[in-house]
Symmetry: C2
Subunit: 214 residues, 2 copies
């Protein structure tokens, strides 16, 4: 049944599950024991019906009177999202964005650990750092030694496709790409592109469209 759910769940659904899980973590820290679909709907900016639909896809049930137990629900969501085990990630490209991500405190909190950073510029190497920054040539070895499956790409656009191929041949299965170019995922690998310029352009368009209407 879970296989089916995985096949049916799409990106939007998984992003909503992450939001419910983040809301639950906040409720846990406030010592909440129970939560209702309406509460989670408010926190994630969706309808309560959507929350129940998402949960039913994964066989998670609450009850109308008592809602969901915060602890149980949190465990179930963590398991679905693969957060029941520590996830190691490498950062490739230690420029402005890469360096910020190496030291981003939010990852620790979510059970995500940055194993190392990699660059081609010797001035950026820092093998004793926490996390260390290593030469790009050591990427494949480091990935295999620690069985890392996830990489964040923060390299210039012209280097991105080549670095992606290097990364995948080293065994990486999932890539979060910050290079301002839309990378294509070959089979057996998942690539998510985050393009900061595109996001800002999108914002500019809708701000202008809204102002024009006023």
């Amino acid at each position: 049944m879970e296989k089916n759910a995985q096949a049916m769940a799409n990106r939007s659904c998984i992003i909503r599950l992450s939001r419910y899980k983040n809301a639950l973590n906040r409720l846990k820290s406030l010592n909440f024991v129970r939560v209702f679909s309406d509460n989670l709907a408010d926190a994630a900016g969706v309808t309560a019906a959507q929350v129940r639909k998402d949960f039913s896809l994964f066989g998670i049930t609450g009850n109308r009177r008592g809602g969901y137990k915060v602890d149980d629900l949190s465990d179930q969501l963590n398991k679905i999202l693969g957060k029941d085990q520590l996830q190691e990630v490498v950062v490739i490209g230690v420029g402005n964005i890469g360096r910020a991500l190496l030291h981003y405190p939010g990852f620790d909190r979510s059970g995500i650990s940055i194993a190392a950073g990699f660059d081609i510029d010797p001035a950026k190497y820092h093998p004793d750092g926490q996390p260390p920054v290593l030469p790009l040539e050591q990427l494949a070895e480091a990935i295999r030694a620690r069985d890392v499956r996830l990489a964040i790409l923060a390299v210039p656009d012209y280097a991105a496709q080549q670095v992606l191929e290097l990364t995948l041949s080293a065994g990486i299965k999932g890539v979060l790409n910050f290079a301002p170019i839309c990378l294509k995922a070959p089979g057996g690998c998942v690539v998510t592109n985050i393009n900061l310029e595109t996001e800002l352009e999108n914002l500019i368009y809708f701000v202008n469209a809204t102002s024009d209407r006023n």
Copy 2:
């Protein structure tokens, strides 16, 4: 007609327009004069029919034999995306991520200029910096003086809602939010949430789902 198009265009369509525009910029730098919907489709990872549909929504037409003129098409897309004028942006919160964004070279290239950074920590103030980092109390004044309408939020989650309200009351119309909390946009304002943990969680889920299937 343009009003209709603006009403009909959704976020996905605008993100595709940004991708076409970025591909065009690359083609321009290679001295291309003409481009076909198939080329743009490949660059943006969509079908050629989708490209033509997106363009027709904004009254952009090419012809089957000659395709589109790169320069004309680029101008039209820049106008739609509000890129025909320099867009100033403020960055609020100068931690790891905020500092990286203050100095992100990709923005310059896209006609986006970071006007200033703001923080509440005096240790981060740097009024003579390029761009300057100023006390948060000066935000409203700076925004009004320069008619800035866009802000990037890179503050901790517990501060995000309060800073959002401050920002909007100072006249900001569009916010790109990096705080790991899903902020809601009141009427007349556009908020885009980029949650790095959620993006990584999403990736972890799909990597696990793909591996399970093999």
